[in-house]
């Protein structure tokens, strides 16, 4: 999948340093937001304490209802509080995981690509969209993910009731779906080998479901029907997973294959055990893998029966067996979390604790929603049931009245707004990154270093012909900004990519392109005929761009050009292509060399190509606009 691998080591110092700086800057902004909130909070509290009788709630009317709701006199349903707080903690934990230094470059290569690789082409296509954004913007995207997730977690924590709370749930749903689709390739549900043991349908889908529960009208929690629905859906999921686990021919029943190699489950456990982590946890995974190799059929039988039985109990939602089923599921899921999923967050690119912990929290939510339905007597009935039905205008009036009586009524909203601010701190740059189809130049800086600023006039001119047979020299190029490089027309690897990068850079220059010539000089001592330049130009699409030239000439003419710009060209042995320096020059309209940069395309990924084009167009623009 193009654009999915950056071609750089995950711990590249340039990228990691820039990532840390970005996090620090955004962290400072977050700190300012929190400081302002604190000041507002303290200010309002101080103001209230100086007012005599200002804290009187009163005994009736809409304003009293508002105050009652905000002061916690009406209890939040226990199940709702549980799902809100527990998943808020998970979101914050995941956000902190996103701040790991390997995330900028490791996410696409080690997380998205492996999951998407085994999925159908259309899933890979969809996942590639997200992976491209991430790999093209390796600083903005991961830093944004940190603040979005931390922000959602804080938002869920600080907004326990009302519209702000439901909006927090909605935000969790939105971001969760984006992560599930683009980051988890639909949780691998379309990939072969999908299994409850391996985390199907992905951890994030539980975050989405939890967010949806928080986003529901609060009155829905007043009936056990919601809990039964949650358990029913979860039961159906377990039953489906049981069928999948029992499906013949998928390798689930074999601990080891006929050649003695480990089966699918043991392979997964071995693989997870090799992830960098404390020795003790690694040894647990490895021990289980060995156990599964010896008793694969029995392990699968236990899993299939347990999933089927638990699925049936949750679907039926009978009160008596439910607590036991929840407990059994918890034990089973924890065992899988430790022995197979290996905690999920080790290795430097773990984005969450995998599916088992969220699934336990989800099933516990369902259980609490059935077992601990709030008792809505008249004394603690929700606001909506106590207050008369009001128009929007009347509600606003009631709110104003409530604020007058007790200014601290706005504090939950202010706090929630602060959390929204932290989400926006990530969401805004993420939106900008998503809209920008050009990769960040830092990728090529990380590969090849930054361009050297210089100012000299080449000592000698060259006299060559372009692909159309027209004579071209340095003197004839005066008056235009020139991006110059040296390419082998029959090169099979880097030169076509450099040519492509030049064409991308030209497209980025837009109207400035009329003041710029992009020039490639033949760097092959054998294939000097103009037809090879024309063929290369055709291959790279130069022939459709008015200001891109491929120059060639006799061997002596070319040698002069190579010498002028210090280009080494040599035959290589054993059927290898010609070796030559990979350097690009930017010349100003007076013919002075202003920038020298290597144009080695690294591993030539789409991200690196775009990154080089962005960097080159930036250099050309800076020279052309002087």
């Amino acid at each position: 999948m193009p654009g999915m691998r950056s071609g750089l080591n995950a711990n590249n110092s340039t990228i990691v340093h820039a990532f840390k700086i970005a996090l620090l800057h955004q962290g400072l902004v977050a700190a300012v937001i929190l400081a302002v909130l604190m000041m507002v909070w303290l200010g309002i509290r101080a103001f209230e304490s100086t007012r005599a009788g200002g804290g009187d709630v009163g005994t009736g009317g809409p304003a009293a209802s508002f105050l009652a709701g905000t002061r916690g006199l009406i209890a939040e349903a226990p199940a709702r509080r549980f799902v809100r707080v527990s998943f808020a903690v998970l979101w914050i934990f995941d956000g902190l995981l996103q701040a790991q230094p390997d995330m900028p470059l490791g996410m696409t290569a080690d997380v998205i690509k492996p999951v998407a690789a085994t999925s159908p082409a259309w899933v890979q296509h969809v996942a590639n969209f997200g992976a491209t954004i991430w790999s093209f913007h390796p600083i903005e995207a991961p830093a944004s993910a940190v603040w979005i997730q931390v922000g959602i977690g804080i938002w869920l924590l600080v907004a326990p009731r009302g519209t702000w709370s439901r909006l927090a749930g909605t935000a969790a749903v939105g971001w969760g779906i984006a992560v599930w689709v683009f980051g988890e390739a639909f949780g691998g549900i379309f990939a072969p080998g999908a299994s409850w043991l391996f985390g199907t349908p992905g951890a994030v889908i539980f975050y989405v479901a939890a967010g949806a529960l928080v986003a529901l009208p609060e009155r829905w929690w007043d009936s056990p029907r919601l809990g039964r629905g949650v358990l029913g859906v979860f039961g159906l999921y377990l039953a489906g997973m049981a069928v999948l686990q029992a499906w013949p021919g998928r390798g689930s029943w074999q601990g080891s294959l006929s050649d003695g190699s480990p089966g699918t489950l043991a392979t997964m456990a071995f693989t997870m055990g090799r992830t960098p982590q404390p020795h003790v946890t690694s040894s647990w995974a490895t021990s289980f893998a060995n156990f599964d190799m010896a008793h694969g059929f029995a392990v699968d039988l236990v899993v299939v029966l347990a999933l089927a039985l638990l699925g049936a109990v949750f679907i039926a939602a009978r009160p008596r067996p439910l607590p036991y089923a929840v407990a059994v599921y918890g034990v089973l899921a924890l065992a899988d979390w430790v022995l197979v999923q290996d905690f999920g967050f080790f290795g430097g690119v773990g984005t969450d604790p995998n599916s088992m912990i969220p699934s336990i929290l989800f099933v516990m939510t369902g259980f609490l929603a059935v077992a601990r339905v709030p008792n809505r007597s008249e004394a603690n009935a929700p606001v909506a049931t106590l207050a008369p039905r009001l128009s929007a205008h009347e509600r606003f009036g009631a709110w104003r009245e409530a604020v007058k009586r007790r200014p601290s009524v706005v504090l939950p909203s202010v706090t929630a707004l602060g959390a929204v601010g932290i989400v926006l701190l990530g969401a805004a740059p993420m939106a900008v990154a998503s809209a920008n189809t050009h990769a960040d130049p830092i990728l090529i800086e990380a590969t090849s270093g930054t361009a050297n600023l210089t100012n000299y006039l080449p000592k000698r001119d060259f006299h060559l012909v372009d692909q159309f047979g027209r004579p071209v020299s340095l003197a004839s190029l005066r008056g235009k900004t020139v991006a110059l490089t040296f390419l082998d027309p029959v090169c099979t690897s880097t030169c076509p990519i450099i040519g492509h990068e030049f064409r991308q850079a030209d497209a980025m220059l837009s109207t400035l392109g009329s003041k710029v010539e992009l020039v490639a000089v033949d760097a092959n001592p054998l294939y000097r005929e103009r037809v090879y330049g024309m063929q290369f130009a055709k291959q790279e699409g130069f022939d459709t761009v008015h200001n891109m030239l491929f120059l060639t000439g006799s061997l002596s003419q070319l040698s002069r050009a190579w010498t002028t710009f210090g280009i080494q060209v040599q035959y290589e042995p054993g059927g290898a292509m010609i070796g030559h320096s990979e350097v690009a020059y930017v010349l100003d309209p007076q013919g002075h060399v202003r920038y020298v940069t290597t144009d080695d395309p690294g591993q030539g990924t789409a991200a690196q190509q775009s990154s080089f084009a962005t960097a080159l167009s930036g250099l050309v623009r800076s020279v052309a606009s002087r």
Binding site: T492, N524, Y527, G574, M577
Partner: protein
């Protein structure tokens, strides 16, 4: 009408069933990989055999052989070498691949014609999409010829004229040049619609020039029993292939070559799990077919080319790596099996005076094994290490 009421509208039961079926079908399609179901594969005439490109040719200046070396299971770390031995020279083989000045991962095709320089086509690989052509006079001078847009899969020369078969999704096209721009000669589609109806759909597999210098085109025929060999007369392409005995077998033209005025067509006839190789020799407008050479199941054709006796040689390898070298006779009746070449032989060359060289490849080392005229076993000759720049073709 029975049915569930939704939003005040009654949904017909049939419609609900249709929706469920559609959803189930969509879910089944989407989940197929999850359940490990294999998708249906396209059907069509299977290729009789994978065409080899390793070959050797003998010119008046000497003998040339193209040999793959390096990590042969990795395309971009397989580098084709061009070995040359001057006529009458006592020394070993000289690797001249460096002079090609282009990465050879895509393979090297050779073509010679009496009195004309050797033509080498270096097939593209990786990011390159056209074929570079070079001519060499006696290995001393090297000059580029016009490149061919696309991947050349067969090459023939006659005097100044070069004929190239270019791969394409529609079955291939044949182009020709006498030094100037390449001109389209014919495509698989136009051949199928004119002279090759019995053969259609066809995929072009080989080109040659006949004794008069006119292009001959070989093909793999979709129609059973048809042998796709075509030549042009009076502006029309006609099928001129021989008839093979089996009307149900698929026939593929593996190679075409003309030596000393005789044209050889190496035919692969697919019969169940085995393939029969037949050498057809065109003599005075009539084909003379050899007896079949049986290739077992999973046998790979490693190398083929013209032999000095006026026939062709065929080097094949079984799955276990055991190799076999067969040569068809000038009269085209029988195949002569030479002593089994050493394991790892990637190409052979018939250097004249009855001597045969086997190029045994082990990574970067090529060992020349020699079978002298009349000898019953191969003798280990000189081993030479080729400096291969692994990774130089990868990005």
């Amino acid at each position: 009408m029975k049915g569930r009421v939704r939003d005040g509208r009654r949904v017909p039961r049939g419609a609900r069933a249709s929706v469920r079926l559609l959803v189930a079908a969509a879910a089944g399609w989407a989940m197929a990989p999850t359940l490990g179901c294999a998708g249906a594969t396209a059907t069509g005439p299977p290729p009789a055999i994978a065409l080899p490109i390793a070959t050797s040719v003998t010119t008046s200046a000497g003998t040339w052989a193209s040999v793959p070396m390096g990590h042969l299971k990795q395309h971009l770390n397989t580098f084709w070498q061009l070995f040359f031995q001057r006529a009458g020279a006592k020394g070993g083989w000289k690797d001249v691949a460096t002079r090609l000045a282009v990465a050879t991962n895509g393979g090297v095709l050779l073509s010679e014609a009496p009195g004309a320089p050797l033509v080498v086509a270096v097939r593209p690989s990786n990011q390159l999409h056209f074929t570079a052509l070079v001519t060499s006079v006696g290995g001393r001078t090297w000059s580029p010829r016009r490149p061919v847009d696309g991947t050349v899969s067969s090459l023939a020369t006659s005097g100044d004229q070069v004929v190239a078969l270019v791969k394409s999704r529609s079955g291939g096209r044949v182009v020709t040049s006498s030094g100037g721009a390449w001109k389209d000669l014919v495509s698989a589609m136009s051949l199928a619609s004119s002279g090759g109806r019995r053969c259609a759909p066809l995929v072009l597999t080989a080109v040659a020039t006949d004794a008069s210098g006119n292009p001959l085109i070989g093909a793999s025929c979709g129609g059973a029993g048809a042998v796709g060999i075509f030549s042009e007369r009076a502006g029309r392409w006609r099928s001129v292939g021989p008839a093979v005995g089996s009307p149900t077998a698929h026939v593929e033209v593996v190679s075409l070559s003309t030596t000393d005025g005789r044209t050889n067509a190496l035919l692969a006839v697919a019969t169940g799990s085995t393939t029969l190789l037949v050498d057809g020799i065109l003599v005075t407008a009539r084909w003379r077919l050899s007896e079949p050479l049986v290739l077992g199941a999973e046998t790979r054709l490693v190398s083929t080319g013209p032999s000095p006796s006026g026939g062709v040689f065929v080097l094949s390898a079984s799955r276990s790596g055991r190799e076999r070298l067969a040569v068809s006779s000038r009269l085209g009746r029988r195949w002569a099996l030479l002593p089994r070449p050493p394991e790892g032989t990637e190409s052979v060359a018939f250097a004249g005076s009855g001597r045969v060289d086997a190029f045994v490849v082990g990574g970067t080392v090529m060992t020349d094994w020699v079978l002298d005229s009349g000898a019953s076993s191969w003798t280990k000759g000189k081993a030479s290490r080729v400096r291969i720049l692994f990774g130089s073709s990868t990005i």
